[in-house]
């Protein structure tokens, strides 16, 4: 068992070339903040990227930032904040859910890991995920070849977009060495409008109405009864909260919140939550804080069409004891099973029945992760295509083998 900790692209290249020649698998690791997601790996060797750090280019006026793949997300976000900018896709921190501490002393993930797991947060609804903001990458394929794709400009259709292909590939195609992201101005002001006491179907209707208005809602979540008490330290009581975030320039936010109040005045009692209190709520929703109980009972992350998701949850509740809350206008469902059984087949069957989507078992004890497909199984033609693609990047299957299996 050897851990290689290179600090340059050339060293990474030579390590992967060696592993390819020996046909010996490597676990690709940043901070290890998401190591417990996916099928457990049993590799003899580990390639640790956490020493490959540093910002290589940051030009705020050009809205572009490049960094070595092992650079800490915390450090990059601090740099962006200093310049009034942000990663608009709002990458989540899995630390609390998977048993770590928020921030984890700056070890809550690397920028390479952000792309490899295609992180996003509540603003994904409006701004997209990591895959929508990646402009370019440099990487080493499982063939032991250093390649690049994309560039440093927003508008670029030169060749295939291999940068996007790296998004959500969990280190199974190539080892990222450098990433370039689009960055955007951080909003001057944010206010959250909360509607209290709605059941799931009424909450979906309210969120759809809000998103279908010109109020430019950037995030929409629904915390059912009791779950609502599990964000922001419990200071917002336990009755259900349907939350709409409005961000932007001060006068615009005031105007749009007023417009939403007019639109939703009859839906239920309304509350305005501004500034730091609003930020805290969305940070906790982003990080799935309501289910961060220090345990290992199964937690699912499900993406569906918003109009169908709550019907699926209702059907699931008939057959399994489960807690749920919703982000992305209701389309992202976080599910916490109250028993140890993940109920994978039941859940995935219901997702198919209610219009399709996908479920990822983001938290579970290792035996469950070894026995079940953590990521959504694909139909045969698509699975075969994905396998061919994997083989084109990593013919010896040495990069995180089986992790997405």
């Amino acid at each position: 068992m050897t851990t290689f900790a290179p600090s340059s692209s050339a060293e990474i290249l030579s390590t992967v070339q060696w592993a390819a020649s020996e046909e010996t698998p490597l676990e690709i690791l940043g901070h290890g903040s998401k190591r417990d997601i996916g099928r457990p790996l049993q590799t003899e060797h580990t390639l640790d990227l956490s020493r490959l750090t540093g910002v290589t280019l940051y030009e705020p006026a050009e809205l572009v930032l490049s960094a070595r793949a092992g650079t800490s997300l915390t450090e990059l976000e601090a740099l962006l904040t200093e310049n009034g900018q942000q990663f608009a896709f709002e990458p989540m921190d899995y630390g609390p859910l998977l048993g770590g501490e928020p921030g984890q002393g700056g070890k809550n993930g690397t920028i390479g890991g952000v792309l490899a797991s295609n992180l996003s947060g509540p603003r994904r609804l409006k701004a997209g995920a990591a895959r929508d903001h990646i402009l370019g990458v440099a990487a080493v394929s499982g063939r032991g070849e250093a390649f690049k794709s994309g560039g440093r400009v927003v508008k670029n259709v030169t060749g295939y977009d291999l940068s996007k292909l790296m998004a959500g590939s969990w280190g199974t195609l190539a080892v990222l060495t450098d990433v370039t992201f689009k960055v955007l101005p951080a909003a001057e002001t944010e206010v959250t409008l909360a509607i209290r006491g709605l059941l799931d179907d009424a909450a979906f209707a309210a969120m759809a109405l809000a998103l279908g208005s010109s109020a430019e809602v950037s995030s929409a979540a629904h915390l059912p009864e009791r779950i609502a008490a599990r964000v922001a330290g419990g200071k917002h009581r336990s009755d259900a909260a349907t939350l709409l975030r409005v961000e932007g320039f001060g006068p615009s936010v005031v105007y749009r919140i007023e417009a939403l109040k007019q639109l939703l005045g009859k839906a239920g009692p309304l509350e305005e939550i501004a500034g730091e209190a609003s930020k805290m709520i969305w940070r906790d929703i982003r990080d799935c804080r309501p289910f961060a109980d220090g345990g290992t009972r199964p937690v699912w992350r499900v993406s569906m069409a918003p109009s169908e998701a709550h019907h699926m949850v209702m059907a699931l509740r008939m057959q399994a004891a489960v807690d749920a809350f919703y982000d992305w206008q209701g389309g992202l469902v976080w599910l916490s099973m109250r028993e140890d059984d993940p109920e994978a087949e039941l859940l995935r069957g219901l997702i198919r029945k209610y219009g399709g989507g996908h479920a990822t078992l983001v938290r579970a004890a290792a035996p469950h992760r070894a026995a079940l497909p953590v990521f959504e199984p694909q139909p045969p033609h698509l699975a075969a295509l994905s396998a061919r693609l994997k083989a084109e990047f990593d013919p010896k299957n040495i990069l995180n083998p089986g992790r997405m299996g």
Binding site: A5, W18, S21, P185, E216, S303, F375, P379, L382
Partner: protein
């Protein structure tokens, strides 16, 4: 580029043409197969009209099953296929091949579902870009990416090219607005990626398909995000004595945290051509003209107009008009939107380029272009998507003067090399196609290109789908798959190990 080498036609396919046409008629009965030369003439080129080639046969399928059967048939018989949407590509992406079936998707022209609660539209690939907006605008919605060919270009073609438009900086490209597709692989297999939900499971094949220029699969259905129209939009028309000042103004607007809905710049030749053509009231004594459009709630737009105006004056603007009515806003845009035909009036022909550069490099690139203009003895006018750095130089030439097309193409290639040199790319939104194919090595080394071609191998191992596009030299998949490993030769004594 005029000496463009396309894949050598396959003699066996040419010899069996009559049999292939007959088989196509069985798969696609009725009017869906066109084989007479005079009728195929309409399909011999796309928007890059300098290149023309009659296809083997034109096939216009109506169902996914027909697309699947055509591709499977061709795959089994080693017959090449070129997919085509509306044929508006400016890079020759839909240029036919003599020995290839031209698969025209225009009969896939229905909108399949409009879903307001989830804010998605499911459309067949032949629906025009504008057709999606038209279908939902009575409810106040629209589809954001708006390439200038939006009246004619198809959504399937938009996926193939990852089309942009003037609103990209704020609202994203096609890739950011498509949630799902159904496609048919060259072997006839039908695959669905994504859907009405967010994020595709598994690898981001949707991301790779978008902008793959018809080389990986044939899109048969597209699910897009629709947005509520902004309440209002207003524009500023700002003139600067130098392009440096205009460029700095753009940087300062973004530096102030403002992302305009549109931000377009024109240089002196483009301003004069446009003003002569449409009399938009553009100032003629400036070197750079900037149109900044702000959209959103009225109160926000008014707030930002004030900020942008102040930034413009700080950067030495000599003229700054603010639209007071929808009519005036449209008049600001009239010249910009007519820039291409306006340039067409002052020159017998023009050649439109499409590089992207880091914005701050604009003065250097404009200066470089002036030098090249003198070197080649050809004029150039520039329109620039200033917000995202996408530059459209229009090279003026006369195709009837022997050698001028070649000169224009060499001039264009030099401009693109300059774009890459300053940190930019060969193409921002028009695609590589055949036009920039041979310039790919300016941006990518052989390892980069090989890895892209290996992606192609996973989708189409026999290189039958749209060959001759994007890649300067196609390498056989078996050859690309070989690994050259040197067992035990790689030493790395300095890497820390634990």
């Amino acid at each position: 580029m005029s000496g463009l080498a396309m894949p050598k036609p396959d003699a066996e396919t040419l010899r069996r043409r009559a049999e292939i046409v007959a088989d196509m008629r069985i798969i696609v009965p009725g009017e869906g197969v066109v084989d007479a030369a005079n009728e195929m003439r309409a399909f011999e080129s796309d928007g890059l009209t300098a290149y023309r080639q009659l296809p083997l046969v034109v096939v216009l399928p109506e169902t996914v099953a027909q697309v699947s059967r055509v591709l499977k048939y061709c795959n089994e018989r080693n017959i090449r296929v070129v997919p085509r949407g509306s044929g508006t590509s400016l890079s020759g992406g839909a240029l036919p091949l003599e020995d290839a079936v031209l698969l025209v998707m225009s009969r896939f022209n229905s909108i399949l579902a409009i879903d307001y609660p989830n804010r998605v539209v499911v459309a067949q690939p032949g629906v025009t870009n504008l057709g999606i907006t038209t279908a939902v605008e009575q409810e106040g919605f629209y589809y954001a990416p708006d390439p200038s060919s939006q009246i004619a270009c198809s959504i399937g073609g938009n996926v193939a090219e990852n089309s942009g438009g003037v609103h990209c900086l704020k609202y994203g490209l096609t890739a950011n607005n498509v949630l799902g597709i159904e496609m048919v692989l060259m072997n006839g297999e039908v695959v669905r990626l994504g859907g009405s939900h967010l994020d595709q499971e598994g690898y981001d094949l949707l991301g790779v398909m978008t902008g793959s220029e018809g080389l990986l699969g044939v899109v048969t259905e597209v699910t897009v995000r629709i947005l509520k129209k902004p309440e209002t939009a207003r524009a500023l028309l700002i003139g600067f004595p130098t392009s440096e000042e205009g460029g700095q103004c753009v940087a300062d607007i973004i530096g102030a945290g403002i992302i305009p809905g549109g931000m377009e710049m024109m240089d002196r030749p483009a301003i004069h051509a446009a003003e002569d053509f449409v009399h938009a009231g553009y100032p003629l004594d400036v070197e750079a003209l900037l149109i900044v459009e702000l959209d959103g709630p009225g109160v926000e737009v008014d707030h930002l107009i004030g900020l942008v105006e102040a930034i413009a004056y700080r950067n030495g603007s000599t003229t700054c008009r603010i639209s007071q009515s929808e009519q005036e806003r449209l008049s600001f845009w009239a010249g910009r939107k007519a820039a291409f035909p306006a340039v067409g009036r002052i020159s017998p022909d023009y050649y439109c380029m499409d590089g992207t550069i880091p914005r701050k490099e604009l003065p250097r690139v404009l200066a470089g272009m002036r030098d090249l203009s003198q070197k080649y003895g050809l004029g150039v006018a520039n329109v620039f998507h200033a917000g995202d750095g996408n530059l459209h130089p229009l090279i003026l030439y006369d195709a009837n003067v022997p050698g001028e097309l070649d000169k224009a193409e060499s001039f264009g290639a030099d401009i693109l090399r300059l774009c890459v040199e300053v940190g930019g790319v060969l193409t921002g939104e028009h695609g590589v196609g055949v036009e920039k194919r041979d310039l790919m090595p300016e941006m990518f080394n052989q390892i980069d290109l090989d890895q892209q071609m290996r992606v192609k191998c996973a989708f189409d191992p026999n290189h039958l789908l749209n060959p001759g596009k994007v890649f300067p030299q196609l390498r056989r998949c078996a050859e690309l798959g070989r690994m050259h490993v040197h067992r035990g030769q790689v030493a790395f004594p300095d890497i820390p190990r634990f």
